[in-house]
Symmetry: D2
Subunit: 348 residues, 4 copies
């Protein structure tokens, strides 16, 4: 941490900063410069509250040099985190993982049907919301535990893994009972009690980036899960808020290589929420894989215009097939692949 | 709701949209135009999922004409919502209400001491966090229930009301037991289970605007509380995320007159979080009152450089006094006042 | 255009809106709804100033249904605009065009040397700034006309086409004399006199998206060029401003399919400015091609640490080669190619 | 400037950074830390291109400690810049200056009429566009030089000073001939040739903040004018782009105290463009004065619904009067005033 002094800061003010730093248990080193002096705080400053120094007399600004996150950083653990799910799906390895399904679970037959289709086309994880966070209290809020049971049956029938969202602590326990991956949605990225509970639930966590979260905040949110002892976190870029509304969100694909350089955690992309428009999902799914995403999360519905939520961004199954065909080639162009361990089994 | 067709949409596609709208139980009215046809959806479309229509063939875009929120809107209730607290403080009336206190409750003596000072200077509601949502899991997270007890003692001694944040459902119950106003923080603005629980807790709710929330989403979040039967919601503008980092957040003061025209709920401003810089708090506090805010929430600490969190944005008590002096004159310039019912009592 | 009335608007107010619309020479059609009335403006409203209607009594909001741009829209011209440059390079066709070179022209030998290298690796258009728009007046501002002459010599020696930026009207004439494509930078996207002059200069124009420009504004800026009779406009996505600073800008790749659906103009991507970080350029270049970009603009420098500007985002030549290898495969995955007409000639 | 090394940077890489800095003519000082080493660049680094260092091996990031602007900074010149106009209006002194008028000059009689009204109500500078930058090439673009002549006549008749926008170099000369203050609009904030020309035109310059400009970029744009020897620059906050569209722009009032602490230049606010909505102009005008603005720029039109541009954000004259009454009280609350030197003359 570097405390930059005003150019006319007095020696007394500089000494004040040095004393304050030492009072916090760190070492301080003044660095005189051409225009002004800076004071370096020596030691791991991850837990230091910059605000305590910013308020001192003569201080211009405080610059964080060390990041506040630890366990999620690549400096902490150099090799990639690789998560193997019970059906053989590997997240964070050389293969690109495909998670797909409807926005919300709408009934038992529909979810099982679409799961069969998706599995045949190469998806190995089934998505589908049982608890839906909706902007309006008057919108459809999901089938709840009933939806979780339908998802579990779809798993039995197809061998696909289940990822579904939990909205609160009780929901985490329920989701952990039925699903293979607990999803924390964008709106809850900084819901710390929820992150902690998910960190103790004994299942991998898929954490979506908040609508206005910096990469730093995104990684710090993941740190909450790791701090509880759960290291199986999958990050998910799903678009950030923009001044333009041509797409529902602005899919920040550069976040993928940025996260890969800062952290060992895998990161996938959700071009369905990232664009909000069916016709833009395929190009952005291709782009995400080309940018190095470890997987995709795609909304697919047998009959999107009849979907109970987010129909406009759901692919038709035949479009999903078209996407898969293109994704295969792109993955190979960068030395990866999109192989389903379920296909291999099926081929036996 | 207006469904705008592409300029070359076929009659069959237009009929498809009409059928879809009727299938949803609404009436549809095609409106031919110079360049293209639009189809109007007749009826209250608050609960209609635009996505179901956006996905239809030939549709260019769907434009919401009615807003999704209801009970919070001024069209639903024309007169201002006025909330009277047990100590006589009135939020949403002609007086500007002052809520002040440290970022976090740090101990019993400090909170009681600062409460006495603030009350004498005209604040009638005491703020102070017992449960702190922190970006890093390694930062100070608050004193928990112990902090709530200290706040309650400060109320006993000073007559000030207490506002403090709840982070999860259990926290809501605990906060409701001790405090007079339950605060929902910016990070939890779209934590719907939390909003619902707060809506059932029997205490007024202070709802902070999310970091990237539109006014529409802000009002919809409040709608969750009202939908549970709790109409005593105080909105709080605390700055939104910006591309510039000269201030911690960008305080959107225009939100104040905008909310006043769309909704009957009171709205206050938090220039401490809104700027993150002590030297900018007073000018922005003045500006908020000038813009028509129904109140202010201000961080004050006896010794900001020693504060356990957010010291850089906390005022010294003498600065708070200076702010109060200026606020009084500004409030009167627009026909309001900053009178403490506690001062009146004290004067007896 | 749709004028939405307040729910309690009087008949007199509705008539006032109808009269105002008719006074502007358009037809008006009131559309009564469940909650409120809207008044449709019939006719091409591209030139209507919404503000004149927004100010009327009883009006809640004015919604534009028709877009303000015309000649750039796909509704005006359905087939893609294809621009063929003198050396056979085709922009907007099935091939992905590669434009590359240093940020700034730094001397005659360096630009000719790098041009030879780039041409061999498949680039057909050489970029290099002679007039540099710099945030600080004290930074290097480019070699001016001397730089243009060096670019012209590089063209003579390699057969590559030249694209370079013009900053003002005189610059446009000078650039048009030496270059094959006139670049208008992001900072000048709404410099209308400059756009008009570029529209009359008789050379194709490469228009970069402004830092905070919506797609609508981007297309309107292009409309200024087309309105002068110049239809050869190449759009360029180069990142927009974001609240996060992990990358210099936020490359909005979804703009590519969005522009392709709204307009017939070709659109390329500039991942160098779009990320500002060398290590992120290749992944985002791949992603841009996968998203459907008609070309790439890439900064390459023989010795980036010695570059006079933007060294941190310039690729080394061997990295450019690696990028080209990957791009080829990705282009083919979506039915395109990256073939240099110069290579074909060279093969003769 | 501080070059932060990766935690595993080798001694050789650290030496490489030291050599590079010395090669640029500065002194370098390695600062070993707990987790990583940083290298300080000693000397005034305003002109150093960070990118040249960011690209070096082992470098994590480069942090600017000194700002790139000089002459605009308060460190360069401590006392406030005060600009006295020929009619006695003082910008940057203790008085709040009121600039008002229509968006565009629409004719001789209307501009003279409104000028008389505004002057009587206390405005001392008349605004009105003769050259209008419009998003669409098909919108009204202003009366040009004819408009300038009408403004000059309004000055003759009322004694008010004239501020009007120039869009290009020729426009600067023309505007400088007729007007008292040359306005550079938000879209041209980074049009450097225009800024330079304005810097040589011999008249004060009013510089509007760009739609997505940071305060740093805003001050650097002003630096272009000062670098030409013109020190009479008035900054103008007029709202930045936001993700929310309830107001046309997001008026960033905190920019006022921020600029006042970083720079000696005066800063005014334009709540008309800053909100785009007539009903929000008065509250935000009050707020701007309360925040410490040195002046206001307000759009006023005798008959806003008939205005040729921006009618929805123009005040009626009686609303302007109401605003002036409130502004007076607020200015006095912070030790300032809103006195027109023209009123004093009139009183003679």
């Amino acid at each position: 941490m570097l405390v930059v002094m005003k150019h006319n800061a007095s020696d007394e003010q500089i000494s004040g900063v040095v004393r304050a730093i030492k009072g916090m248990g760190y070492d301080a080193r003044p660095i005189p410069g051409g225009q002004r002096t800076a004071v370096g705080l020596i030691g791991n400053d991850g837990g230091v509250d910059a605000a305590r120094l910013e308020g001192l007399e003569g201080v211009l600004e405080v610059i964080a040099v060390t990041h506040a996150y630890k366990q999620v950083s690549r400096e902490w653990k150099e090799e990639d985190t690789v998560i193997t799910l019970p059906n053989g799906t590997v997240v964070g390895g050389s293969d690109v993982v495909i998670m797909a399904g409807p926005c919300a679970v709408e009934g038992e037959r529909p979810i099982i049907e679409v799961a069969h289709q998706l599995r045949e086309m190469g998806a190995t994880v089934l998505r589908g919301g049982a608890f839906k966070p909706r902007s309006s209290p008057y919108s459809f809020q999901g089938l709840g535990e009933e939806g979780l049971r339908y998802l579990a049956r779809a798993r039995e029938e197809t061998g696909m893994m289940i990822v579904t969202e939990a909205l609160d602590s009780e929901g985490v326990d329920l989701v952990a009972e039925y699903a293979d991956i607990i999803q924390i949605g964008a709106r809850n990225m900084q819901n710390y009690p929820l992150l902690r509970r998910a960190g103790r639930a004994g299942k991998p966590v898929l954490l979506k980036r908040g609508m206005a979260a910096t990469i730093e905040e995104f990684l710090l949110a993941a740190e909450y899960v790791l701090a509880e002892g759960n290291h199986d976190v999958i990050l998910c870029e799903r678009g950030v808020r923009s001044f333009d509304r041509h797409t529902r969100n602005l899919l920040d694909l550069a976040a993928i290589p940025v996260v890969h350089s800062l952290s060992h955690l895998p990161i996938i992309a959700d071009p369905s929420h990232g664009t909000g428009l069916r016709s833009k999902v395929i190009p952005m799914a291709r782009a995400a894989v080309a940018a190095g995403a470890d997987g995709l999360m795609i909304e697919v519905h047998q009959d999107p215009p009849q979907a109970m939520s987010d129909g406009a961004q759901s692919l038709y199954p035949h479009q999903f097939q078209q996407m898969m065909d293109q994704i295969h080639v792109i993955a190979r162009a960068i030395g990866r692949d999109v192989v389903s361990p379920l296909e291999a089994v099926a081929a036996d």
